[in-house]
Amino acid sequence: MPGRRCSACLNRQNSNTVVARTAAFILVAACLAVLALGQVQLRTDIRDFFYPGEAGDAEFLVGQLQSDALSRRYLVSIDHPGRTAGQAASFIDALQSRLKSLDEVRSLRLNRLSEADLKQLLTFYRPQAVHLYALEPDKAFDRLISPAGLETQARQVKEALLGPDPMLVKSLLAKDPMLLTLNLFRQLGELSGAPGEAREHTAFILDTRSEGLDLDAQVRFQRQLDDIFASVNAEFGGGYAMQYTGVPVFAATIRAQARQDIEKIGTLSVAAVMLLSLLVFRSWRALVCIALLLVFTVSAAALVTQWVFGYLHGLTLALGMTLVGVCIDYFIHSLVHAGDKSGAERVQAVRRIWPTLLIGGATTLVGYVALSISGFPGLRQIAVFTGAGIVVALLSARYILPDLMNLLRLQLRPGLHLDGLLKAAANPRLRVAVLVVIALVGLVGGSRMHWGGDLNMQTPELDRLIQTDKQIRSRLASIEPGRFVLIEGGTVEQALQSAERLQPVLANLKAQGALSAYYPLFPWLASEQLQSANQQAWNARVTPALRKAWSVALQDQGLVAKAFPELKPIDEPFLTVAGLEHSPAWDLVSRQLTVQPERVFIAVWLGKHDPQAVRSALAGVADARYFSQKDSIDRLAADYRETARRMLLLGIVAILVILTLRYRSPVTALAVLVPAGLALLLVLGGWGLAGRPLGMLHLIGLLLTAAVCVDYAIFFLENTGRNAQRTFQAISLSAVTTSVSFACLGVAENPALHALAWTVSPGVLAGFLLCPVLLRGRAQQWQDGQGQQPST
């Protein structure tokens, strides 16, 4: 009796321990979920996901777009076809005055310099008129002080005096008697092409008070902007149209789409997987068990990613939702094999399949880890997210699930009967037919397969925004959006000197007609070397003879020479970036200049141009390169595709190595890989037959397909549960849930996710179905070799 009591005590103690452990797990899972909800910072900026941090061009672009000024700026364009200038002006006046009354509007200005801006700029640049006079100071000043040059300059002084703003001219003349300041603005006029703004549109620039990152405020403001426009348009009888663009517009759209994708994919994926589980296990308690484990897994994965990267990208989360379909595989296997057992037997059953789970998890992990070495920043995050998820799911399946099943008193017998399928798969004729079909699809489809150059991360809505953006920008100035010359230097001085060397090259292109206009940083800013050269050239020429010649030139124009101040050498300090930062010119300069701790970028915007001619001309200019956003993206896509090919190869080799180590036979390892390999061939052939171009994301999809399909082959081959039907049930359910999870990506707005959906989902199903067709004999052979009892 004491022995029996003791046994009861032990059982009770064990039971208490199980309850305590499970309760602790539920508490930890709940805490992790709360922590994940509170701690994880969800970011939706596509550039985080897309551009690698080390590419200079992208760094410049991202730096520009993330600048405080640009992140809160809207470019608004009003179309007023068929309206007179007066009618359009009245409409713009009314709209602007309504917009200005909003607290959110910090500033609003037309795309022209206001009189106040112009005055400020002229006043600011007056002391620098000599420093910024010319790129070739000696030649330019010699031209200026020649008799013809002095006559021209004196005439220009007179014309300016008699122009629309004599007061401003007189104030400049007091310190700049030759009015060299105007030369700066004349140079700008010569560089630019025709005025960009057509008479059918008016564009204005609007800055908000809220930061660009405050997307809720930006979305609210965009609604207000739409409402106010609609109301003013109605007051004026309709017929006006508004478009706007800017970083906040893109950011808000991307966020809305990412949220929508996450919600849609998440809800669908979880609902589908849960429904399938419920249908198969016919147990709400099993559903609770799976849900708890999935919440634990996803929360842990999100927190690990947050910890590693400092944020979680929306696309990672959307794609990571497929993790639900992958991780549930381990739970399904454990539930199927241990569902009809209890207590220690249950633990024993899970322990028995643990090596297979581990090897399956390892091969899947290999696929995801290969993503992290792709160099594609978004995929690194996905790899970390999914990798963490797989590890947590594996450990949960081994150490938590049996206790949880015991606590919930789960007794399961999966209601999925696939004996017919197993028997049919044993038919040798079927095997031949399947192989022939796959070979045909592979051959025909493979010959039609082609690679696309575009990464195609843009949704139709984003494409529309990009087109609007290009249209508005082309109205604001005669600049070709997305193409410019980028100059890079270690210091501001180096970059400015390179930019100054570039300018004659662009002038030459303009003279040849290969370039309609260009917008360099000079004369807004010049290197100290050039400023010094200008100062020396001027000071050397200011002689009594020049003063006399200038007086004569003024008198010849009917001007009173005595009323003008005397020409003097200058010793003003040079203009620097720091000096510009709080000046009225900074808004203009900062759009082209990005100063980083170790690198400085200068962009020279280009008007209509011949890309090949510009590229060739730049070949001889050090530190300058032609940047085309589309070319750059195509190049990145090609690089990524090449990397993805390497990843696929590397991933398959790594899986083969793991399998060879496991089975101590390369032939068995290869046999396990065959269903996955043929599934890939089938999917590739299918894409070829569909005539759709393949990109990097398809290759990634293929790698994931291979990594997941190998799991099914391993489970099928090893049958460590010693019950082939059960094993096949588990594999079937796993394949269906994984396939459904990935198929859910197909409902996303983002086409990048479509590529993954329609690669992985059919691939996984094909890989699973090929296991009994191709591996039955080999599985029997291996199990016999392991001394397993025949399956029941």
């Binding site: 007179t84 200038a85 007066g86 002006a89 009245s90 713009i92 006046d93 602007q96 200005r109 037309l110 022209r112 310099l113 206001s114 009189e115 106040a116 801006d117 112009l118 007179k158 014309e159 005096l161 008699l162 122009g163 629309p164 703003d165 004599p166 007061m167 401003l168 007189k170 003349l173 005025p195 008479r199 008198q555 009917g558 001007l559 009173v560 009323a563 003008f564």
Partner: protein
Amino acid sequence: MKAVFALYLMALTLWPLAAAAQDTLADVLARMHVHDNRQFHYRETRHLAMLAKPWEASGDMYIAPERMVIAQQDPEVRITDITRTRLLHIDPAHQVVRTMQLSGPFAVQGLEPFLQLLYGESDGSALEKRYATKFRVVDSRWELHLYPVLDGSGPISQMWLAGREGQGADYLKLEFEDQDRTEYHLTMIARGPDARQAMQRVLKQAEQ
């Protein structure tokens, strides 16, 4: 009866005097305020210390409720189109098109008080906050003299406007802080639709 008759005679005698009552500042301001289209011929003379002799120009000036257009014809064609928000200056000979956004409604430096009279409050209340006014009528002509009362009101130190009684201004003189000055002699040549059509023709030509 005699008394009544005497009163009646007296009333008849005073009637022409009452009908021809002198212009007041309020009358002039109300008359100046733009509510229709007008076309003037103008002659401009600039007296600048930096110029050896005064510079003269002439052309047509169009005043409409939403804009003012100065179409200089001599010595060179130049069009200046001023709206509430911007000033457009076109110099066809030199192919110069200059657009300036104005910091306030019709806030063109050098013409600000004059444009205030045309486009500001019709009772002159806003004008009076910034400028002191002296108004008088002499020899059937009214004269309005304005000078800024606030520091930093702009470059104009004094402005004179004058016209015949019961009519708008035909003379404008602007004197600047540095003693330079500009005079305009104005002659109204059209009013209403004709003036508007003429202005639109000028604007169309300028746009071409």
